[in-house]
Symmetry: C2
């Protein structure tokens, strides 16, 4: 059986570093389409997505509603109650596909970590969640490696640019336009986003 | 038998976008250590590295010396003469490891492409080099996909953050400090580079 996949999601005023190119309403719609792409990849891997947010949103997905917006507090309250393996997957990974999710589950280690750009951790797979706790923000990848080590848990680092690429800033939209195929890419195109090339560097612009 | 791996290398005044933190001599030494890390990963995968440069450099690696510094001209002159499969691998990928190189060779497609950040192509594996030509710069990843398609060649996109991460700019050094384990990381540490964290964002600074 495929483990449950916890997907933390912030529906209100998300992705503020995209404010230079998207309004608050557009950022909320964009975050939602990215979540839908992630949920779709999880379903394609025959797993059950569980969206963890501070409020319910309109969908048929399984949802857990939590009072706290702090990722660490929220997840560390859930982990000790988990009797089955869990994958924690970020909601801003629209390049996720079923291949890499299956690759994570195939690990023969106790824990699998998928790094995100800039020291982040974009996915954590924990076979025995009671023995692990999360510590996001900053160089969380190094912190999570240390936590596994301190707990005596073996750890695999999964090599994936699809999960390495979280969408936070304008330049990240280049990756989504080039490598994406889901709803969030379609939404960007609908808004007029297109690739640009200047002096050999590839960028993105919003055409009116 | 493992295919030959062509590694284009620019020994003189390389990596100019790192000029803000490294002198010309340091950039040349750093580029050389990155090349050594790539060569080492290729050897670990039981393959033969062939360094393609405009001048010989001091090493026991197999080398091809070419008159032209243009990547496309250089490689497209070599490909038609190749009777065996070839992997073209960039020299600024110090996170490369034998695992991903073996994964590339295991493809059942005619061509395997490994994207680089910002639309680049950091590795191309071609089973029948006579039927392919390269077109680097700009969104080369999309161009290479199109070239394969036009030639009727099946194509796999390899999912790897290790090969996605070419080292061009100061912020890329963060990835090398976090995920690297070879000579180029050691060289950075020797020069005084260390991770910083400000407002939750991870960066890099050079301490004197």
């Amino acid at each position: 059986m495929c483990p449950h996949v916890l997907i933390p999601f912030k529906p209100v005023n998300p992705k503020t570093r995209l404010s230079c190119v998207l309004s608050k309403e557009e950022r909320e719609a964009f975050a939602r389409t990215m979540l839908e792409d992630v949920v779709s990849a999880v379903r394609d891997a025959n797993c059950t997505p569980v969206v963890v947010g501070t409020e319910l949103y309109d969908s048929e997905d399984v949802q857990i509603t939590v009072p706290d917006t702090d990722l660490n507090t929220t997840l560390n309250a859930l982990l000790p109650d988990s009797v089955a393996p869990i994958l924690i997957l970020m909601a801003d990974l629209p390049l996720a596909d079923s291949g890499v999710i299956k690759l994570i589950f195939a690990t023969d280690k106790d824990v699998a970590l998928v790094p995100g750009r800039g020291g982040g951790t974009n996915a954590i797979f924990i076979k025995d969640p009671k023995r692990f706790h999360v510590d996001y923000y900053g160089t969380s990848f190094l912190k999570h490696k240390k936590i596994a080590e301190n707990e005596g848990l073996s750890c695999e680092v999964i090599d994936s640019f699809r999960l390495f690429t979280d969408i936070d800033e304008k330049e990240d939209l280049v990756e989504l336009l080039i490598h994406g195929s889901g709803k969030s890419r379609a939404y960007l195109v609908e808004l007029g986003f297109a690739l640009t090339s200047e002096k050999g560097r590839v960028g993105v612009e919003r055409r009116q």
